[in-house]
């Protein structure tokens, strides 16, 4: 058995462990075979090789390198589908029309499936055949994981998170760090309550980089007077299993949060400002759980917009001047949270200057899909980011908002790299700063 989870210690990237090419191919094919359902088969069947998806992808647009054509990123799996699982698989196999996927090919595709894909889903909007290319890429990542070809950074973090609940070890556990942030910012951090309406969690990016965002979340919840709690056994919103393509690990990591939410009888699991956590929890968790979740999952901007329209939240005008907003792909394009942030900005009287490509068509910040964590991917990532940065500059906005910590981290990184003159701000923090006291009701 070449089960990667059993064979390797958590701090070992399987790509660095000697595995025979056969076992890699076998792993990939097994992971792939499990993924192939009627829907993904239909997607693979439908491709007419028109190459139009290339024109949606910021990696292709920035480089004009054909290998970054989104559908090409799943080419080995298309090949494997035709040979192994398609209706004519016996013909393809017998007549030798499609070659077997090789370990070399898989290794080569690691760059295409991880380093140069943010799983942003923009390609899924351009396909004239209506193929959801990003769904295929997600499945291909699962197969790559089973081949032991997840990039080491993602693999390590996923393994660590699955075992400990934290993607990385920290000197002080996240629970204590959170309480410390509460003390520092003067806001109570509800922790481990046995019964709460809403269960909260945080991006670990916020704990490490943006403690003010953690405080803002606590403050807003306090202001709303909603009974809520963090749970020390389910604090982290991110899911590195999702990035690395370890489907079972993704399920395990999601299960921590699901179990904690059930334990405190939460009616709502509130996803903080984190895009892919929303995809993982809002859309994928229930399917991995195998039944409907006994609570609803909401993104914090969605939740706040609901409060706003229910009259439980009122906001003061915010003096942000000309403002633009970056739509995180996982929230907007893939998640459908398009109106909520705009409702909040409108309520604060913000003068919004949309980006050239906004809403569902927004370009990815460049850090999505775990790419921000893959070190060797940085040079290429910077090239693709220029598109986004230019769009932001073109709006002439003074303030630049977003609602995803990973996007924020990516833009901060760009600020340092390009000596760029803009810093991203959190929409949640802006809301926390402009709470109107009159609106709070017990």
């Amino acid at each position: 058995m070449s089960d990667p989870t059993g064979a390797f210690a958590a701090d070992q990237a399987p790509a660095e462990v000697a595995r025979t090419p056969e076992s890699r191919v076998k792993g990939a094919m097994r992971g792939f075979a499990q993924e192939i359902g009627a829907l993904s088969a239909f997607r693979l069947e439908s491709c007419i090789h028109c190459g139009i998806c290339a024109d949606a992808c910021h990696y292709y647009i920035a480089t004009e390198d054909p290998q970054y054509t989104p559908i090409w990123k799943v080419e080995p799996f298309k090949q494997a589908y035709k040979r192994e699982s398609s209706p004519f698989a016996p013909l393809f196999k017998l007549l030798g029309l499609k070659r077997e996927v090789t370990a070399d090919q898989l290794a080569q595709w690691q760059h295409l499936l991880f380093d140069s894909c943010n799983m942003c889903g923009r390609c899924s909007l351009i396909c004239p055949m209506g193929i959801d290319v990003s769904a295929l890429i997600e499945q291909a990542r699962h197969a790559m994981f089973d081949a032991g070809l997840a990039p080491k950074e993602l693999y390590r973090k996923a393994a660590h998170q699955r075992e400990t609940g934290q993607p990385e070890a920290s000197a002080e556990p996240y629970r204590d760090q959170l309480l410390g942030i509460g003390a520092r910012f003067g806001v109570a951090i509800p922790m481990d309550k046995s019964d709460a309406e809403v269960m909260l969690c945080v991006p670990r990016t916020d704990i490490e980089n943006y403690p003010s965002a953690v405080a803002a979340l606590a403050r807003v919840m306090q202001h709303l007077g909603v009974s809520c709690t963090f749970r020390s056994d389910g604090l982290v919103a991110e899911n590195y299993g999702y990035f690395a393509g370890g489907k079972a690990w993704q399920r395990d990591i999601s299960l921590r949060l699901i179990n904690q939410a059930i334990a405190c009888n939460a009616k709502t699991l509130l996803v903080p400002e984190c895009g892919h956590a929303y995809t993982a929890l809002r859309w994928e968790a229930a399917d991995l759980y195998g039944k409907p979740l006994p609570f609803q999952v909401r993104h914090v901007t969605e939740f706040l917009a609901e409060q706003l329209s229910a009259g439980r939240l009122q906001l003061a005008k915010a003096a942000t001047g000309k403002t633009t907003f970056h739509d995180p792909c996982q929230l907007v394009r893939k998640g459908g949270v398009t109106d909520a942030p705009r409702t909040l900005m409108h309520a604060m009287g913000i003068e919004l200057h949309e980006l050239e490509n906004h809403g569902g068509f927004s370009f990815c910040c460049g850090g999505g899909g775990g790419v921000i964590d893959i070190e060797r991917a940085s040079p290429l990532r910077y090239r693709t980011m220029e598109i986004k940065l230019r769009e932001i500059d073109d709006t002439g906005a003074e303030t630049f908002l977003t609602s995803c910590s990973d996007c924020r981290r990516t833009f901060d990184d760009a600020q340092a790299h390009f000596s760029w003159n803009k810093a991203p701000h959190s929409l949640l923090e802006l809301v926390a700063d402009n709470l109107s006291p009159a609106g709070a009701r017990p």
Partner: protein, 219 residues
Amino acid sequence: MDLLGFARGPALKVALAVFCLGVTWRIVGFVLLRIRREFNQPRASILKYLTGGLIAVGSRSWPHKEFIGRTGAGEALGYSYHLGLFAVVLLFGPHIVFLGALAGVTWPGLPSGLITILSVLTLSLFLAVLFRRITNRVMRMLSNFDDYFSWFVTMLVLVTGLAATAHLGAPYETLLGLHILSFDVLLIWFPFGKLMHAFYIFPSRAINGALLARKGATS
């Protein structure tokens, strides 16, 4: 039996049988793969979910305005040869007779002269898309035997058809026989290659559109 008799007799029969067999085989062969139940809570009602699917069937026919700059010309080229092909296939008198005999109904057509002009235009568009497939680096990389052979078979039908109406190169009945024979080849190839997209395009758009609408996401 002469070539024409063979082409529109036994060859056509075999081709139609292979076509029906292959198409069903291919569709049944993947539709019966596992369909996972979705347990997440949909954002939209069933009604919105379904209308989302229907809308996508139409809206994906043309790129969103965000994409037009990069893909508009390419898609226009693609659609125009399809339209030319449909016009020639469906609106030429002798084709109506042929298809009408298969389907049991007929419909009005266009003057043959106009059809000839359309065929020549379509043929030039065919050459243009091949040129594009070969010169565009993305398309060249993605292309395989299927792409070129499907192109070739379709073009063969067009060329033999044009030759038959223009009486070029061989006696009419030979050209007509070749024309129908090349159509038979197309029918036989159809289920095994990308020509199947004719069956896939609308359901594929509809399913993707519906799934995105279900999440309230952009489609």
